[in-house]
Symmetry: none
Subunit: 125 residues, 4 copies
């Protein structure tokens, strides 16, 4: 859970994204209980109000469900996980292409630069 306090992106949205990523990575399993906003707040050095806003947003997006008095849980919906992973990945790819295209960089150069960055330091056999 890494937050960038200087980013213009609101912290509560960064937190939502981090949860989504953990889901996509399979680190957060459906049905899991997530920390209370007070716990989470201490862990992330953030104000409890901010965590609560993040939790609200997740609930709104259908990622979690809250059981009165028991806490907040990742929804037990396997389809959702795949959907999220696919959505976020598509979005990242799309944004990358648009950014590079905006710089006037051709598809072939996009691939080359990506490979260079991915496999740099892996030189030779």
């Amino acid at each position: 859970m890494q937050l960038n306090f200087d980013s213009p992106k609101p912290i509560y949205l960064q937190m939502v994204d981090e949860v989504k990523k953990a889901l996509a990575r399979g680190e957060l399993l459906p049905g899991t209980k997530i920390p209370s906003h007070k716990e989470r707040a201490q862990m992330s050095q953030v104000n409890p109000n901010t965590v609560q806003r993040a939790y609200q947003e997740m609930e709104r997006e259908g990622l979690t469900e809250t059981l009165r008095g028991q806490g907040t849980f990742i929804k037990n919906d396997p389809a959702m996980l795949l959907r999220i992973r696919s959505e976020m990945a598509q979005a990242a790819v799309q944004q990358f292409i648009e950014e590079m295209d905006g710089l006037g960089i051709e598809p072939t150069e996009m691939e080359t630069m990506l490979k260079n960055q991915l496999y740099k330091g892996t030189k030779g056999g």
Copy 2:
């Protein structure tokens, strides 16, 4: 020059990025005069002060230079263009990889998804 007024990214920084992109694409030539902040403000439906802040930031980053009472000009520094293009491209690649990595996606899948998105609709021989 497309601005997203709903983005958390400040408008003045979006404007700086747009100029950088135009430079990278070779659409904005060194030495060119850019519109006064009042003109730009009208063109972009934005307050002149916001434009000025963008221009100030560009000056600070060494993209432009100002001639008192005459206007603001793209710096005549060919090295700068290459530097900007390379910097921005590197940043985009880096961000893409981190985002995908955060989703638990392997390098090979990154490449595949990128190609799919780039060449979709180009099917067949």
Copy 3:
């Protein structure tokens, strides 16, 4: 914090200089919280935006750091203090020499005039 509203030097830069001087004098300790821009604005009879611009400039120069929602703090970097003191003093010496040289005044006379002004009223033994 004395500001000269008639000076051609922008107020926000005067404010930055005042902070630098206080740092150089050791009156502003690293880690100290400085007044919010609204407080400072009231204290200095200046618009809050002007103060903020000064604070922004200080941040940009690495003098301060900002904690979202908590305020602005002098950076805890001892090396910075020395650097600033030395930079500002060098600049003052340099400017003095150039000014005097422009008047056709020789180094020995510079020294004499400086001493006279420094120790006037301390006459005799």
Copy 4:
């Protein structure tokens, strides 16, 4: 005649100062005709209006006098030269001391730093 177009100090005042310095240095003799504002404007890459304002200011300060149809002349007043030189030098000394004092630098250190800067590179016997 060196002008700094980025300085917050108005250009016309910079021009006045340059003339005063030339007077103090003895390079501009009393009675000398100075260039018309059009000539001066071309020489200094400055708008004629700006030169005119500078000339007005000099006239106002009693440095020059204008002879209808003949041009502008340095006043033939030997006392004035000494006065200007002394005034400007005093002002420079005073400003230097205040600046250094503002940085918490002691008189002895002022002298040392001045000497270091004046005679650096003159090492040895």
